[in-house]
Symmetry: C2
Amino acid sequence: MTLIVALDRSSSKNERDVIGVISKICNMVSGVKLGIPLFVKYGATIAREAREVCRNNMIIADLKLADIGDIMISTAEILLPHVDAFIAHSFIGREGALDDLKGYLDSRGLKLILVASMSHKGSVEVYDKEIDNIADVIKGINPWGIVAPATRPEVIGRLRESLGKEIKILSPGVGVQGVKPGVALCNGADFEIVGRYITNSSNPVETTKLIIYEQKRRLDRCRK
Amino acid sequence: MTLIVALDRSSSKNERDVIGVISKICNMVSGVKLGIPLFVKYGATIAREAREVCRNNMIIADLKLADIGDIMISTAEILLPHVDAFIAHSFIGREGALDDLKGYLDSRGLKLILVASMSHKGSVEVYDKEIDNIADVIKGINPWGIVAPATRPEVIGRLRESLGKEIKILSPGVGVQGVKPGVALCNGADFEIVGRYITNSSNPVETTKLIIYEQKRRLDRCRK
């Protein structure tokens, strides 16, 4: 499976609604990514509930951690029982930050996913100027996966070339942000992350099916 | 007043203990900075309770926001009633990110504080290489304040020179991270941020008094 559903926004829905949406589709997706607004609204509860309804999915805490090592570890500790993977920013560097977090997550059998570039336009102002240094940080840390935007296929290609095939590439920006399902997979990503396109749909199950169908159709064509 | 107390770690203390510590010292400090582990543990409740016990302090949500604009706004919305200022990373750039957040916070009369550099050693690996671009992002956004580490006085000096006197500089890294109280103020910071040195103290009130005394003594000497 190549689809991760993102629950990023708190919206006006309550906790039960948020969990309700994913409970219907967790057997159709690889993972469930929980965004920072949900943690700030509900605390660790939201991860515990996501784990309860989606027992076999990878639950990803997308806090975009970007702090010193011991603060990131202190954050991860709280979510340990409910979460499989944490997303952190690569731009904070290794010493006293990502080295510490990676060591901690490794010792608990948890996955680290590093943001390598972002999907908004401002990513080129600073972040993408450091793409070579960031690739070095990523190589040094050797995380389970990285995040690279579907909106900038050349960045995905460059990172795939630089990092090899072992590291998973997760691509947000599919759906509402404008990229069609399957495009990032064709450009070298392993998973596409879809949020609002599913969660705002009047029929999340049908929309998810449609996305999976489109991914497969586009992949079949680009792999020919 | 030139001191901000940081409640960054969740530790084994419960919510009541966390709030208990600050309730004793909020009349001695300018602001209370709440770190991401507390939000992940308790949700928005922790900010509401901090506001209740420290009505006249600046309450700072130190989530180190580093996401696309609408996710950061969705996060800020949740904390609106309880918080005066939000910390975000300058590294993510303006378009589709910090521009959006600044516009939103301005419209609500709230302060934005941007991280310009970090206190751990890994900050030099990527972040500090972009100090000039980051200074440009900060000038373009014109936030209320920035965060620059007490551990690297040359960075504080360079940012103060580049940004002028209007923007407040907040300096973490004082106390347990090794820098003596008053040193960052002498180097051009407006506020020093102290966490564990106060919160782990057996007598937080006496420790806070001592820090304020040391700040004043060092400032008196360096301003001669």
